[in-house]
């Protein structure tokens, strides 16, 4: 049975079922969401208005036996950046969509009535119900109550109060196999879902048509090679499973690239207390789980279950970026406070990177002092209750900076930088500046090559080779984000062309294609260009591909400055 697209019109509350147009057939994940946004969304539209659309799509390999292929992409015009946006997450929803033969949901229009709705997706299609029962509730409660109603296996996407209030940092939560939360985090897609008045979406894959493979034997061979390669790599096979992504705290600190106190310093004296090594020991001593999966088929297991001192669950998916954002960035060296902050943000439904950066700017503004953990928790709760200050914080770092007249605001195109100082890890600076998503470390993650000696080495403090590195990675990532594979397979794929080919062969075997690595890269380039053209049509120019001027200040310990010329940055787009 061929895959379907469901178009959900929230203006007249009608759902239509469409065949997949020929030009969308070879696309999935980010490639598909960005192509649909570029084709169907008016670039100059208001992101919360009637012309924006929320696209939800599993990746090309999602639902197959390929390891780590359960990522779900969501795309729209971003209320945070005004650019095109794709955000992806694990959880169970992506594989359920794939098994139901659903290539994408296109959610469009705006309801005329001031109420909330839910969508239910199953083998017979998509239904829209008015559903105000959960309005105002946090994501954890929504997840629990919806599971009570539909059973534990049900797939759920939901927004918290931040999304309902259409805050620009609002995310979309995705239920994971244990009923806890993953996030379509960046760019305020929760506000787009909130503008369409959808509180949650349930997905039941019972008796779905399943995933068709054109050449099962070829798929089996390629997926075996791929799985072996991912498991054999020391990063994806070993390190991430023990220490999680937070293993980066100590190495970034030692290398002088850990942004501290709102990007004032490159090293944090409290680094050891918030490091991956400490997270690991803490989890073991409290009978948590250091090696948790976010979706079935994950062999990397970078997630974890972090418990409090009494052994009660606090959070999972406790990431380096979050721990940095509220740790080094806010001068807080208390993991329990940061874990509690993560829990509150998941519940309220805001992106933990944007909110961490916003909190650093709030401290810069003197709303609370740097290091004030109790103050952080109080302010995060204000986001959920929607006080005026809570709404300012929930609008992201740029909104806080503008409101309080602050110049040290680490954003590009309105989106907060993450846990790598662009002055001392220059490849990341190029990615922050040029990404079509606004500042986004995942768009072209140069840290393996700049810092970790994985996939080659380009000196992080020198300009040479950084534009080329960022370009190569942004092209590769645009492809990877379309497959449904977790970005962390890149650690092994970067090192190994045979694995890159195995990845292409899995796509080939599933769809009956014969794509080469070069074809894959060409698809990556096409996706990037499509996104860039949308941004240009929305009014962005090369002048927006710039870092804030405070990065001219030297950052210790290397006293590195941001020293790329405009021409050097603009050369990124020469491909």
């Amino acid at each position: 049975m061929p895959d379907k697209i469901y178009r959900i019109n929230m203006t007249d509350l009608k759902v239509t079922n469409e065949e997949v147009p020929e030009q969308w057939k070879g696309l999935g994940g980010r490639g598909l969401t960005s192509t649909i946004v570029a084709q169907e969304v008016k670039p100059t539209c208001h992101p919360l208005g009637k012309y924006n659309k929320l696209i939800i799509a599993p990746g090309l390999l999602t639902g197959t036996a390929a390891v780590n292929s359960g990522r779900l992409s969501a795309g729209a015009k971003s209320p945070l950046t005004g650019t095109i946006k794709e955000s992806n997450a694990g959880g169970t929803a992506a594989q359920f969509f794939a098994r139901l033969g659903i290539k994408a949901l296109i959610i469009e229009g705006l309801p005329q009535k001031d109420t909330f709705y839910s969508l239910h997706v199953d083998k017979s299609g998509v239904t829209i119900q008015e559903d105000t029962e959960f309005a105002g509730k946090g994501n954890y409660e929504v997840m629990q109550m919806v599971q009570k109603k539909y059973g534990e296996k049900i797939g759920i996407l939901s927004i918290g109060p931040a999304g309902e209030m259409r805050m620009a940092a609002a995310n979309i939560s995705v239920k994971d196999p244990d009923g806890t939360i993953r996030s379509l985090g960046r760019g305020g897609l929760g506000a787009v879902m909130g503008s369409k008045k959808i509180k949650f979406i349930t997905i039941d894959d019972t008796d779905g048509p399943g995933v068709q493979i054109a050449d099962p034997e070829k798929f089996k061979t390629a997926s075996r090679t791929f799985a072996k390669g991912v498991i054999a790599h020391p990063v994806s096979g070993e390190s991430l499973k023990l220490y999680g992504t937070d293993v980066l705290v100590n190495i970034l600190n030692e290398a002088g690239g850990l942004p501290t106190e709102n990007f004032r310093y490159g090293q944090f004296p409290g680094h050891e207390k918030i490091s991956g090594e400490t997270v690991y020991e803490t989890i073991l001593s409290r009978k948590g789980n250091p090696s948790h999966i976010c979706h079935r088929g994950c062999v990397i297991r970078c997630s974890q279950v972090y418990n409090d001192k009494n052994g009660n669950y606090v959070t999972s998916g406790f990431e380096y970026e979050t721990i940095w954002g509220f740790g080094a960035n806010c001068n807080i060296d208390d993991l329990d406070i940061i874990a509690e902050a993560d829990h509150v943000m998941d519940d309220v439904g805001v992106d933990s990177i944007e909110t961490g950066v916003a909190m650093g700017v709030a401290m810069e503004a003197g709303i609370i002092p740097f290091g004030d953990g109790a103050g952080v928790l109080r302010l995060l709760k204000e986001i959920g209750t929607g006080t005026p200050l809570g709404r300012i914080l929930g609008s992201g770092a740029e909104g806080v900076g503008k409101t309080y007249g602050i110049t040290r605001v680490p954003v590009v195109k309105g989106q907060g930088l993450s846990a790598y100082d662009p002055r001392s890890i220059k490849g990341m600076g190029i990615t922050y500046a040029t990404s079509t998503m606004g500042s986004d470390h995942t768009a072209g993650y140069c840290v393996p090559v700049n810092i970790l000696n994985v996939g080659g080495f380009v000196d992080p403090l020198k300009k040479e080779g950084q534009v080329e590195l960022s370009r190569r990675l942004q092209i590769g990532t645009a492809l990877l984000d379309s497959t449904g594979l977790c970005l962390f397979v890149a650690f092994s794929v970067l090192d190994n062309l045979d694995l890159f080919q195995a990845m292409m062969d899995m796509i080939n075997a599933k769809y009956g294609l014969s794509m080469t690595i070069d074809n894959g890269r060409a698809l990556g380039r096409k996706i990037l260009r499509t996104e860039h053209e949308f941004n240009l049509a929305a009014g962005f120019t090369n002048k927006d591909d710039r870092l804030p001027e405070f990065f001219e200040e030297p950052v210790p310990p290397h006293n590195a400055v941001w020293d790329f010329t405009d021409e050097e940055i603009d050369s990124f787009w020469n491909f």
Binding site: S236, E254, I451
Partner: protein
């Protein structure tokens, strides 16, 4: 001279240690003394800069040793 170890390199070893300096001591000789295979050593930082195994250390240097790790 100081040597710092991270992640799995700490298992059965130490976090941080003052190291006896001698003229001509290299990063490689410290790896050997610690029984760490060169292939296992992902990142070698001397005073926050990347270094090779043949790097000759100075008296006040800090050497930080990491296995192959990653995150993001």
């Amino acid at each position: 001279m100081k040597v710092k170890l991270f992640a799995a390199f700490r298992d059965g070893r130490f976090k941080e240690k003052e190291w006896g300096y001698f003229d001509g001591i290299t990063v490689g000789s410290i790896l050997e003394a610690l029984n760490i295979n060169k292939k296992e050593a992902g990142v070698l930082l001397v005073n926050s800069r990347h270094a090779e195994t043949n790097y000759r250390l100075g008296k006040g240097d800090t050497l930080s040793l990491f296995p192959v790790i990653g995150g993001g």
